[in-house]
Symmetry: C2
Subunit: 282 residues, 2 copies
């Protein structure tokens, strides 16, 4: 079992890097190569690797590291500056696919419920893909990128609402407005509280760790542990864990120790982030 | 499942670093704290974390990274210089516990077979603990440390022979000398061939990768992939995978890119090596 998992990791690492190197040479973002490599080595391709629990956890760590990194290079103030634009992008980016998908479903003769599910399925924006492609293009700090990233996060909240409403409609035939408002309240409260508390207390805490730790791995390990904790909390608030990782990154990025944290987490990300994108195809 | 594993990793990271910081302050090697922390959070302690497949794989990656790091700071020539001393240490370090254990077994009235198993169980030297304690003491490159490390590797071969002989005696009542010689031959051939081929070709290969790779994560990912491959090969030769990782480290350490490989793998090790030592207690 253990050595089988190590063999899978070995194949994933080699496939990811060969694909990334090829793509870089034809000016395509590496992430495209990684997803294709995942399809090639996965069950729909040469079936070299199967989607095990171990690979899923490594992939999850990978995408959490990605959003941590992205969050840590952005400023909350800069994000707030594009807040209105982000929200418009998010609303349009949800409304158009939802209405279009549902209408198309009706058109080809689906029941109303089925059509609603098609619409709901099309509303999701992948925060992970968004962050990675903008990162590969080295465009993360541009105003346009911040707008799109903010929209992807807002989309996670809106998508949560749509999914809840559609599922309730399908299962119990009715939706309680109070129930939906409560879900929105919990999600928004999570974002507001973790961002506010995190940005207020976390930078100082990690500067203190950087100054007083005697073991050289303490800073990087606790930064990852903090991020995992916020990701878990996000899941409790029914948001995607990576939205939590993004908020954790925003908080850690304001610390004086953030350069060291980023420098030490970067090679870890080099190993695990590709696992996430390959696992899309596996 | 996935988020449960992330919670386990979070607990392991925090426990490891708290334990390491405490131990560093009372001048005890951090590894002692990590093993104790593992017992505390494991099923025999507060039962916060269970020994899952995911944790086992992360632990395995951790100890492989440790031996890769240790191998990469040592020189094969320096190891060979202490070769005779290492072999004496290994033989004495196997013979004394084996004879002592078996004699003690006989003394307290065990059957001959049972006594042999007690002796065999006591012969193993933990390459992982040896490497980590010497590393914590910053004594890896001392001649004495090289002697002990070389002995731990040699012990893996001798232990393999003893275990094979004892198991064959217990199951079929007899041992074929040719069979035992074949096992020794495969193990020694693995060590000799991977060391010779690895040291001849691997440094140049990784310098080439460092020079021509366009994606910044390629070098570190392929260095880890190479190490995993040699570890898998070691397992095929019935040796411990970490002995393979040690040989891979010896080869990678001679590359001009070895400083960069070591620098980038270090934070990865900071995260995973403690998982191995905690998992001893979990």
């Amino acid at each position: 079992m253990v050595s089988h998992a190590l063999l899978d990791i070995l194949i994933v690492l080699v496939a990811a890097k060969v694909a990334a190197e090829l793509m870089e040479r034809i000016n395509v973002p590496a992430v495209v190569g990684e997803i294709l490599a995942g399809i090639l080595i996965g069950p729909s391709g040469f079936d070299l690797v199967e989607n095990s629990d171990v690979l899923r956890v490594l992939a999850e760590i990978g995408v959490i590291l990605l959003l941590l990194e992205v969050g840590s290079v952005l400023e909350l103030g800069e994000l707030a500056a594009v807040g209105k634009a982000s929200l418009s992008v998010a609303i349009i980016g949800v409304a158009v696919p939802f209405v279009g998908g549902a209408a198309f479903g009706e058109l080809i003769g689906m029941s109303g419920e089925e059509a609603l599910f098609v619409g709901a399925a099309l509303t999701a924006t992948s925060v992970g893909i968004t962050a990675r492609v903008l990162g590969d293009l080295k465009a993360l700090t541009m105003a346009e990128s911040r707008t799109v990233l903010g929209a992807a996060v807002a989309d996670d909240v809106i998508g949560l609402v749509i999914l809840t409403v559609v599922v309730r409609l399908a299962t119990s035939g009715s939706v309680s407005v109070a129930g939906v408002l409560w879900i929105v309240f919990v999600a928004v409260a999570f974002l507001a509280i973790t961002a506010a508390v995190g940005i207020r207390f976390i930078p100082g805490f990690f500067e203190w760790i950087a100054r007083f730790s005697k073991s050289s791995g303490t800073l990087v390990a606790l930064a990852l542990a903090f991020t995992l904790a916020i990701a878990e909390l996000a899941e409790v608030a029914k948001l995607a864990p990576i939205v939590g990782a993004f908020v954790a990154g925003l908080a850690l990025g304001r610390s004086a120790a953030s350069d060291r944290i980023r420098r030490e987490l970067q090679p870890v990300g080099h190993l695990f982030i590709p696992v996430f994108f390959l696992s899309i195809g596996i």
